[in-house]
Amino acid sequence: MDSIQIPPIDFRLIAPLLVVTTWAMVLLLVDVFAIPANRKKLTGYLAIAGLVVAGLVAIPLWDVSGSTFSNMVVLDRYSLILTWIFLIIGALTITMALDYLPRHGIEQGEFYPLIMFAVAGMILMAQGTDLIVLFLGVELLSITLYILTGFAYPRLTSEEAAMKYLVLGAFAAGFFIYGIALTYGAVGTTNLALIAERLADPAAETNQLLLLAGASLILITFAFKVALVPFHMWTPDVYEGSPTPVAAFMSVGTKGASFAALLRILVTALPALEPFWLPVLGMLAALTMIIGNLGALSQTNVKRMLAYSSVGHAGYILLSIMVVSERGAQAFLFYTLAYTLTNLGAFAVVIALEQRSNATWSLDDFTGLYKRQPLLALAMAVFMFSLAGVPPTAGFMAKFYVFTTAYEGGLGWLVLIGVLTSALAVFFYLRVVIRMFMHEPQGELEPTLDRGLSADIAIAGGLTLLFGIVPAPIIFLVERSLVAAGG
């Protein structure tokens, strides 16, 4: 009788993931038994500490690469950079939430470990090289997000958002599983590299129809997660309903991780199918850029506006993903980082203006902000211009990077749509700026700027400007990440 072989496991390669996960599990217990109800902020600080430790643990791994768990998990610089980005997202989100939760009376200690679990899911998505592992990552992320979305428990809209997200998320998970099953049926493996091998091998018998169906379903799942049109409809509702830090987290985290996984799937497993998925993704990208930006145009609710804007940005990121080259991967990483900083900053400003009693997130809240809080208004202006892609901000550099890459990659017509829609987009970002700078303040609304928020906004705003003026170090880092999953 054959004994079951346990493959050798190199825990070093998943060190950051291990740190985040175990830290979160321990923190859950610590929170329940050791931290009194009125000191829950401490849990938050501990969670940030955990993310920082994970980030530090990852540093010596820069020169390490390899795969483990029977090639189901890989460590390369691509995943390492993404890991850092995800850790930053987690830390900034928690900083935002530290005072937000008590202010809105929804402070529960488990919020912070939950964010850590979500980050763990994202890291897993960046490292996974097997469809099953990717599924694990996606679900770990999604299930935590279902809870986080409904975290503002007594508020109906929050529950509604959680419910919607759950139902549609489960719907998408079904497609994902089915897609994996069909793919397995077609090629007999779920390992990304092996799938590519089977496809390249003329002797192997693959059922192409089955494979295409499977691949489509997998693509659709990610299209849902990153909110590509027409799978985007949940976005405005869910963002509006969920607690604002969670919306901020989702807008950058879910997108970043899902795109990271999608890129790896396309590059490692499905390059042979490019003639099939390229037109499909091209259509989706075009639709997403157009509908996302047009949708944002008519919003008076800032959260919904940012939701649509995040849909539009998914379209731009998709452009970089579709260019399956090293440059494409670089552009993707740069865009993700720039977009992460900018969007988190913008949401932090929204939080500062969010009143406890009647949070309408109306554009009117921004009226005359420059007069009341000049620095806050300046920061928001930086974020808006960065989202709109106006220099000298990181957002412009990122767009420029993506557009040059896509143009070189032969996606000329998509670049055209991208440039035109981002020209259009300036209109609704500008409306916020106009409210802030070209109106006299009205009403009593006073922004609440606690220390966490200020730190968030300062970091995000400073880096957004810095990377716009001196992007070279980031580009240097991103270039060394090569990568491109397979290459």
Binding site: K164, V167, L168, F171, A172, F175, L209, L212, A213, A215, S216, L217, L219, I220, A223, F224, P230, F231, M233, W234, P236, F276, W277, V280, L284, I291, L294, G295, L297, S298, Q299, T300, N301, R304, R327, V390, P391, P392, F396, M397, F400, F403, T404, Y407, E408, V415, S422, A423, V426, F427, L430, I434, F437, M438, V470, P471, A472, I475, F476, E479
Partner: protein
């Protein structure tokens, strides 16, 4: 030394901006600091130009790199400045005229509650404009390009209490974004064909980054596009750049934002919307001249767009009542002259006209500001009249400016305009010449009209007591008037053989533009002078004789001759209306439609008044973004079916 000196030129105004944002809270300090720093920049620019002149002609190009801005495997863009003859004259104009306008602003903006912010914006603008003209690559130029657009936006909307101001600001920004989009596409195309975005070869860390301008001949014969209609690459790139220029330099069909931009404070109109920012398009075309020259197709488009703009705006300027709108349309028209000159290959002449126009148009705007200031915010010329006694300095300086604009010999505008016309003759651009000549006649007429309406006759509205402006305002006027009178000296044609100091500017620009000075055409000069004097007198006399008939709500005296055409002119040939109907209206409907159909929870006041059709469809399909999760799942499923069938269809 020049290497670090030129860095100080943009850094001084930047320092002023930072001080005004973070340190200064007092009105007086703000104005002084802002003006002093721009003045300092001007002095440095003079020093730098002199030093540049001391170098041998072929070496007159200094580039310094601060850091490698973007360095990826294939693309390397340095954050570097360039100082060569073309840049030097632009820098002198920006800092010189800009400095005077700063001083003037101290008087003009006195007492405004947000004056510190005003000077901060103004300093930022100068910084960005300097970036634009000193950039050694397209991307940095674009940074300045967007930066000046942003400052322009902020300053047009500066008096946001006036409703029109913020609408005008948005209009300017959005219209400009059309040009910017084309500019970005041009950059992408340049990059993909040359692999670089720097203008000239430059050394960074021991590596030579090639410049693309020298490689333009390689484009010859290269084409792109579908097989049934290929387009030469040079044509494609230059045409995109042209669209970019039409946005920033307010050319047909994108000029509509400039007249509205007059809602900003008058010194802003002088600085940004007359002397500097709007000339950025012309500067950019001169800088990338080899690409334009490589494409005869684009060149003829450039020429015709310029001529058309000069004519449309020149006729529109005839029929305006607002003192600043006359000047605004006049600016558009003169920019048309410059663009036409570029199109006819006379880039040096275009830059010459750019410089003289920068001086005399700034003078005219500041003069109009002085009038507005002295008449307690009156801008309607029908309420003015007879101001020459109350405001003598303003009157005399305005007269000089108007004469220069009209092309009266020997004021500066005559020489620069003549240079363009003479080139049209010698190069045989006859139809364009006729267009430009008519436009220059119109110029003389509307300036005669304006001078008459403002300064002659008797004051038609007795509600204010007109007074001369203070010294902070009149001194810059006088300086600019002197400049407007003598600026022609910098590029006189060879009037007689052996004339010393002829065509200095053309020679100075030779290392960049490689142009020979044009010939002086005495016959043309005679016609032009007679035309200018005649039309100027005609405009003056018609409105002076009929001064009594001019009143608010009444018809223009010229209406008798023109009839309804007058209304067409007043509306600038309804270009703006056309946009409202053909672009803005449908766009709003679509926006409203999308909002109603897909997301009824977020309808904005912006999008009211859709057609019945849209309303009808909207109610039919509105259920989609209804908030019901089953609907979302349904759309999801439809999406799945579509994607699946699409994929499988390809496979078939």
């Amino acid at each position: 030394m020049l290497n670090w000196l030129i860095w100080l030129i943009p850094l001084l105004p930047l320092l002023g901006f930072l001080l005004n944002v973070f340190v200064i809270r007092q009105e007086r300090q703000a104005g002084l600091v802002a003006s002093a720093l721009v003045g300092g920049s001007f002095l440095l620019a003079v020093v730098a130009t002199v030093m540049l002149g001391g170098m041998p002609e072929e070496e007159r190009r200094v580039q310094t790199i601060a850091w490698e801005w973007i360095g990826t495997g294939t693309l390397s863009i340095p954050f570097g400045l360039l100082f060569d003859p073309l840049t030097s004259v632009m820098v002198l104009l920006v800092t010189g005229v800009g400095g005077l306008i700063h001083v003037y602003s101290i008087g003009y903006m006195h007492g405004d509650p947000r004056v510190v912010r005003y000077f901060a914006y103004l300093n930022l603008f100068v910084t960005m404009m300097l970036m634009l003209v000193m950039a050694n690559n397209m991307l940095l130029l674009f940074l300045g390009w967007e930066g000046v657009g942003l400052c322009s936006f902020l300053l047009i909307g500066f008096w946001f209490e006036r409703k029109v101001a913020s609408a005008a600001a948005v209009k300017a920004f959005v219209v400009n974004r059309i040009g910017d989009a084309a500019f970005i596409l041009a950059m992408l195309a340049i990059f993909s064909h040359f692999g670089t975005l720097t203008f000239y070869d430059v050394e960074v860390d021991g590596q030579i980054i090639p410049g693309f301008l020298a490689q333009v001949p390689n484009l010859l014969g290269q084409t792109f596009g579908p097989e049934w209609q290929t387009i030469a690459v040079a044509t494609g790139i230059s045409f995109l750049l042209l669209i970019g220029a039409t946005g920033k330099s307010a050319q047909f069909p994108l000029f509509v934002w400039l007249p509205d931009a007059m809602a900003g404070p008058t010194p802003v109109s002088a600085l940004i919307h007359a002397a500097t920012m709007v000339t950025a398009g012309v500067y950019m075309m001169a800088r990338t001249e080899p690409i334009f020259v490589a494409s005869p197709a684009t060149q003829s488009w450039v020429a015709w767009i310029g001529v058309l703009t000069a004519l449309i705006a020149g006729t529109a300027a005839l029929a305006q009542w607002d003192i600043k709108r006359v000047l605004a349309y006049s600016t558009v028209s003169q920019l048309g002259f410059m663009v036409a000159a570029c199109g006819m290959g006379a880039y040096a002449a275009a830059i010459f006209h750019l410089l003289t126009h920068g001086i005399f148009k700034a003078l005219l705007f500041l003069g109009s500001g002085s009038v507005i200031h002295g008449t307690h915010d009156t801008q309607d010329m029908r309420k003015m009249g007879g101001l020459r006694t109350a405001m003598p300095t303003t009157y005399w300086t305005y007269l000089v400016g108007a004469g220069a604009l009209a092309g009266i010999v020997p004021l500066s505008g005559f020489w620069s305009k003549d240079e363009i016309l003479a080139h049209a003759v010698s190069a045989g651009y006859w139809p364009q010449l006729i267009g430009l000549f008519i436009a220059s006649l119109l110029t003389a007429f509307y300036m005669g009209r304006q001078v008459s309406l403002i300064f002659f006759g008797t004051q038609r509205d007795p509600h204010y007591h007109a007074h001369e402006s203070g010294q902070a305002m009149t001194v810059p006027l006088v300086i600019l008037a002197v400049g407007a009178a003598i600026a022609g000296l910098m590029n006189l044609p060879t009037l007689f053989s052996g004339m010393p100091a002829a065509h200095l500017l053309t020679d100075w620009l030779k290392p960049v533009l490689h142009e020979e000075a044009g010939k002086f055409n005495p016959l043309l000069a005679l016609f032009a002078t007679l035309g200018a004097v005649g039309m100027g007198y005609l405009g003056w006399s018609v409105y002076t004789r009929n001064a009594a008939k001019v009143k608010v709500g009444g018809q223009d005296p010229a209406y008798y001759y023109t009839g309804d055409i007058w209304d067409t002119l007043e509306a600038a040939w309804y270009v703006d209306t056309l946009y409202q109907r053909a672009v803005v209206g449908p766009f709003r409907s679509i926006g409203n439609f999308l909002a109603q159909v897909f997301d009824p929870q977020g309808i904005d006041g912006l999008v009211v008044g859709t057609g019945r059709f849209f309303g009808w469809v909207a109610t039919g399909v509105r259920q989609l973004q209804s908030g019901y999760v089953r609907m979302y799942a349904l759309v999801f499923t439809v999406g799945v079916v579509l994607v699946l069938s699409f994929m499988l269809m390809i496979a078939w």
